[in-house]
């Protein structure tokens, strides 16, 4: 039942708004709204009950194992939430002057420093509000760099075919043409194809390493050389830093610019869709172009650097300071972990993924790259099951829900057919990983003996399989009051 269906005209939840009508207006009739909005009219309890009940219909990290590949669904420490919501932080107006902002600025400055160290880059800007905006900032800096050198022949961005959709979409937003580079059968970039593709028109390449195929790109230095020699820059999609935290730095691999998804590696919550934070780090040559605002420090005083302090900056990409509250959460997490904790993240994320891959292999499942080590994630393909049993990846995924597991990422990356991209993260216990493996085995058995059962899943959730085609065809995007 929708909240609107619980609404009744003239029900006022009085304490939540001023109790008495305002007596002055001064707003002429011509500017005034004629008809009241459809906002629900419910009591406080009705609202609380409605949204409490709704929340219970969700799978989440706090309730379920959620091995969604490329999403790093690990535990979000509650302290990060509680401490980032201290009144002093929540109440700070974005235009609050520096002398009333030293506490907040100190956190932002520290976080910049930590992220510099983690990525091996020269400088970091915290502003971008998610991974995709970080990518935008990065590619816009690449454009600004070439522009500053009057090198306007560079019209193309190279993107491996395994790349996340945000990569090509970002290149387009920065007015670059996208050229796809194929992957070889081991999951590495096809170096010969790359060599053939680069040229004076190459503005740069966008890479993820470990790639979204769940493997580490071994010839990364060679790739960097090829692109750099052609005058292009290297962009690192750092959405998936979890596997290499403390182990290897993008700066050392030769990257010029990187964005990080703090809502993955730094464990800020995903909130059912966001918010995230996508800070960018750059090598020396891109430093002047970093988006503002930045935080600087002089004599133990922190202060902002804005447009006027950074004339070559690509400017600001958010009205104020990006998703400040998310940045605070990431900072708290980083302080809880410390350097030794960061190493451990990579180690145990990798251990969990490799263990899971090994056990699923033993159980007879096919891996996309069976000869590779897994990073923090790995890809399993159900091509065989789809062909022989008529049970495809989506069926497995839905059936996993019945077993109490959120499904891994399905049908991504696009180049592996019938794939599941599985990322257990370091915060899951062996027991839960084993339980997932058992569920996969059980579903495999079901698929062999009772395929229809698997294909009809899920059975135990608030709804059964939803009709996506109908959703897109008979668009119903908002509730309308019944005609009165």
């Amino acid at each position: 039942m929708l909240i609107f269906e619980k609404s009744k005209k003239n029900r006022v939840n009085a304490p939540q708004a001023p109790l008495s009508e305002a007596t002055r207006s001064g707003i002429p009739e011509q500017f005034r709204r004629k008809q009241r909005t459809n906002l629900p009219e419910v009591s406080e309890m009705q609202a609380v009950r409605h949204y409490t009940q709704l929340s219970q219909k969700n799978f989440s990290i706090d309730t379920h194992f959620y091995p969604l590949g490329s999403c790093t669904m690990k535990y979000n420490p509650r302290a990060s939430n509680t401490l980032s919501m201290l009144p002093g932080f929540l109440g700070r107006h974005p235009e609050s002057p520096d002398n009333l902002s030293q506490g907040f600025l100190a956190c932002m400055y520290d976080l910049q420093e930590i992220l510099k160290e983690v990525t091996g880059m020269k400088a970091v800007s915290l502003g971008p509000m998610a991974g995709a905006q970080g990518e935008f900032a990065g590619v816009a800096m690449i454009r600004a760099y070439h522009d500053a050198r009057n090198d306007d022949a560079r019209t193309e961005i190279l993107v491996p075919d395994a790349a996340h959709g945000t990569n090509p979409a970002t290149a387009t937003m920065c007015n670059y043409k996208v050229k796809e580079i194929p992957t070889n059968s081991d999951g590495d970039v096809d170096i010969e194809a790359l060599k053939a593709a680069v040229g004076p028109q190459t503005a740069g390449i966008m890479l993820t390493n470990p790639s979204t195929l769940g493997v580490f790109e071994r010839r990364i230095k060679e790739i960097a050389n090829i692109v750099h020699k052609a005058g292009g820059l290297l962009y690192y999609d750092g959405a998936n830093l979890n596997a290499i935290l403390g182990k290897v730095k993008p700066g050392d691999m030769g990257f010029d610019v990187i964005h990080m998804n703090l809502h993955k590696t730094f464990s800020t919550p995903h909130g059912g869709g966001g918010p995230g934070a996508g800070p960018v780090g750059v090598s020396e040559r891109l430093e002047p172009f970093l988006p503002v605002p930045l935080v600087a420090k002089k004599d133990d005083e922190y202060y902002w650097l804005k447009e006027k302090d950074r004339p070559q900056s690509i400017g600001r990409l958010s009205t104020f300071m990006g998703n400040a509250g998310v940045l605070l959460r990431a900072y708290i997490y980083a302080r809880l972990l410390g350097k030794e904790g960061m190493h451990r993240v990579a180690e145990f994320a990798t251990l969990n993924a490799n263990y899971m891959m090994a056990e699923l292999k033993k159980a007879g499942f096919d891996m996309a790259y069976p000869n590779r080590l897994a990073t923090h994630e790995f890809i399993l393909t159900l091509k065989k099951q789809a062909k022989d049993l008529g049970v495809n990846t989506m069926d497995f995924a839905k059936r996993l829900l019945d077993y109490g597991f959120h499904a891994p990422t399905t049908y991504f990356p696009l180049l592996v057919p019938e794939c599941l991209l599985i990322e257990p993260t370091e915060t899951e216990a062996l027991e839960d990983i084993d339980a997932f493996i058992e569920a996969m085995k059980a579903i495999q058995k079901e698929a062999e003996t009772d395929a229809e059962k698997v294909k009809g899943a899920p059975y135990t959730l608030p709804v059964r399989k939803l009709d996506d085609v109908k959703a897109a065809k008979e668009l119903d995007l908002s509730w309308k009051p019944a005609a009165q």
């Binding site: 509000m129 809880l336 915060t427």
Partner: protein, 466 residues
Amino acid sequence: MPFIPHTDEDIQKMLGAIGVNSIDELFAEIPNELRSDDGLGNVAEGMSEMEVSRLMKERAEADARTLCFAGAGAYEHHIPAAVWELTTRGEFYSAYTPYQAEASQGTLQLLYEYQTMMSSLTGMDVSNASLYDGGSALAEAVLMAVRANRKSKSRRVLMPRTVHPNYRRVANNIVKNQGIVLEELDYDREGGFIDPDNLPKDPGDFAALIIPQPNFFGVLEEVDALTNWAHEHKALVIAVVNPTSLAILTPPGEWGETGADIACGDGQPLGAPLSSGGPYFGFMCCRDSFVRQMPGRIIGRTTDLDGKEGFALTLQAREQHIRRSKATSNICTNQGLLVTAATIYMSLVGAQGLERVASACHENTLNLLDALADVSGSNKLFNRPLFHEAVIQLELPVEDVMRALSVQGIIGGVSLADDYPELGNAILVCATETKTAADIETFIAALQRIAKRLTANACPVQPKMA
């Protein structure tokens, strides 16, 4: 180990199953010369939760207890306690984007309700499920308008100077890469608004006109006339609005003859704390006919195998994960949790409540203006109707006044010196429903003291007696 549940026995068992001797072997594919195993020298050691709590409390404390009369795109409203107690429930807080619809009906239904609320507030047909913030939502609206305007191929968009300066910057920083030009429209110095009578008679081909309501100065624009003018020139209208104001102001869907085409803005006033500027959320609504040009996620109502009602992401073919380089935008992660808060906020205050909030804010700003009128050397600019925010001109240097106020913990508004130097020593002030008469008095008294002192200091001959 912090957040890691493995015991020594677990580790041994797992390594055995993999067939390696150490965790380190699992990193064997990383070329040795790239490894940085002791490379986090500049990162401090881990702290206990208690230690981090102490640190963060000290820092939060350092910035607390200000009395704030700044608005300028971020408004201090009362947020009912239930909003964040519910929003931070683990099931909302720690869920991912609802890719498995059946396991995410809570979030999906809530987003559908959100879309309904925003459609109603703006008077538009459809809403998406959020963008990053107000500034970037405007950028997306510009890109969308250029894509969607079938009658014009122009990449010119008219941007009034009465739009928030940072919105203009963000929009420009984003859209300029695609060769789109935001052409400024100057404002009337008396009224602080875009005078419809002074619009270019022959504006040439342009894709869209942006109309802020209220505008950055708090002034109400002649939205009907502006909308009609743009439509007459085959341009689309992009409304930039404050959602609280929509409880009492004409919604964009009803502007002019046929309404605005796209409405966007920042959802912060709907339940998001000031929080240093974020996370907030951008909202975007449009006409039915433009829905396939809209960026961001959209939720649709549908049915399940048994015919039962349910909710799912829909029209995904617009998005980057399907359409890749041809997508309507690169946005992926949005601001879901803030939308959760906003939806709960709107449910709690309700239709009437939001009107009261809007009216109370407006009344409080009028009270502040009355009080400022008595402060010598302070002068309200612009003679037009306003909502909830206003520009004040000071006789003294803004920077000095603001600094002196800040020492007393008062944020006296936002200086316009950098963005509108033509207005002299101007500040933008705002008093939401959270401000009491006593708060206003505190502000005024401080201002008067400071004015006295600064005037005295500026005096070439120092008065003999303090």
